[in-house]
């Protein structure tokens, strides 16, 4: 089923903003689609995906829109008075309040906020609150969350993250097994390679580049496996 879907995607043309993608009598607008009287039109450059009545346009380039419960990889931008502003690779800067920092006792009289987490610190957080009215709030309290002390930071377009993870994490485990490395993937399109070995990092980078370019082309998993095994796909 997955393959037939991929094959369909391969044959589908790329749609551009304002292009007709469906009729309101038969479809309801999904991701990157809007309704104009009885027509469904695309809002971004992408590929059409029809799931039952719902029409989506899978964007070929997109921004990360924060959603509650998303795991994100952020970079501390600036320490403030009650927390830190964090760049989460999105149009919106996130806020990490002091209360969401896992350290139990922080004496602000002794430690300045900037000393606890310096600008440029990479961290893995969870989106705790996201609304259109205020900046998204992230937390570091939870399993697997916190400051990242070593590893390499890579990035991918946010819309390609589901393809990088795969169905039930299949693609991610293929990469982890193939390159023998642990990865942390943020929904915001940033990922951490937990390895000091530069060869491994370069291999993962190559695979990520392939997924980013070819996520809509049939037979991606086979090509990723071949690349990881050292064969040119």
């Amino acid at each position: 089923m997955l393959r037939s879907n991929e094959q369909q995607q391969r044959q589908r043309p790329i749609v551009v903003p304002g292009e007709y993608v469906g009729d309101s009598k038969f479809h309801i607008p999904g991701l990157n689609v809007y309704r104009l009287s009885d027509r469904m039109l695309a809002t971004t450059v992408g590929l059409v995906r029809i799931d039952g009545k719902r029409v989506d346009v899978v964007a070929l380039k997109s921004f990360y829109q924060p959603k509650v419960g998303d795991l994100v990889v952020g970079i501390v931008k600036e320490p403030g008075t009650a927390g830190w502003t964090v760049d989460i690779n999105s149009p919106f800067l996130a806020f990490l309040p002091l209360s969401e920092y896992p350290e139990k006792r922080i004496r602000l009289s002794r430690d300045s906020i900037g000393r606890i987490l310096e600008a440029g610190t990479v961290l893995v957080g969870l989106i705790k609150d996201a609304s259109i009215f205020s900046s998204p709030v992230i937390t570091l309290k939870g399993k697997g969350l916190g400051v990242v002390s070593n590893g390499f930071l890579l990035s991918i377009t946010a819309s390609k993250v589901p393809r990088l993870i795969g169905k039930k994490g299949s693609m991610l485990s293929t990469i982890e097994k193939g390159a023998n490395v642990k990865l942390t993937v943020g929904q915001n399109g940033r990922l951490i390679v937990h390895s000091e070995d530069l060869n491994v990092v370069m291999k993962v980078k190559e695979v990520i580049g392939m997924i980013e370019k070819e996520s809509h082309v049939y037979g991606l998993t086979e090509r990723v496996e071949a690349l990881l095994a050292g064969r040119r796909p």
Binding site: L41, T43, T44, L60, P91, F92, F133, K213, E214
Partner: protein, 242 residues
Amino acid sequence: MGESIALFSEDGKRSDGRGLDELRPIRIKVGVLSNAQGSAYIEQGRNKIIAAVYGPKEALPKHISLPDRCILRCRYHMAPFSTTERKSPAPSRREIELSMVLRNALEPLVMTWLFPRTVIDIFIEVLQADGGTRCAGLTAAVLALADAGIPLKGLVAACAVGKADGKILVDLNDLEDKYGEADMPVAYNPTLDGITLLQMDGIMSKEEVEQALSLAITATQKMHKMQVDALRERFSVQRREV
């Protein structure tokens, strides 16, 4: 206007050999800059224009941000080497006005409510000018927005129409712009069937305006097809590499 210049040859062709309703040769390329989020380059006759888009990003200073939508900031600028005589690089009155006009022409297309409190920067840099730069700049800017992945209601294409020696012309060049009787830039969105830019300089009768407008719409529809092809070309490169 006082000088007399022959804008038409004896066989009725225009100074550059075109017919009355003919566009100049157009070449569009999307994604030409790697540092910008989105970019596009257009050559329309001797016009050479590049457009770049940054954002949406946090609006700074914060007091300029709007709670319910993002702000569009547009800068139209002519390079000092874009004209036959050096142009001062400082923004002139005309450039400031055109920046505002182009921002207003793009704003109805951008789904600004999806990115509250942010700003989108649009830069339109004219590298070589030969009349109709605002229209060509707008055509490139909307492609740069689409290339950046910013949600749009549709694409807009722009073209100037005008009058010279009593004849209605499409896509005026610099000579026709300067010595003609009227000049009317039009930006048209075929998806929404709406006009987002309409200016006029000179004198035309009501019938002439109607005729010019319908010619402009036909010309922008042709340009819209070229825009769609350029965008598809940009994103299908990935497939060809496979």
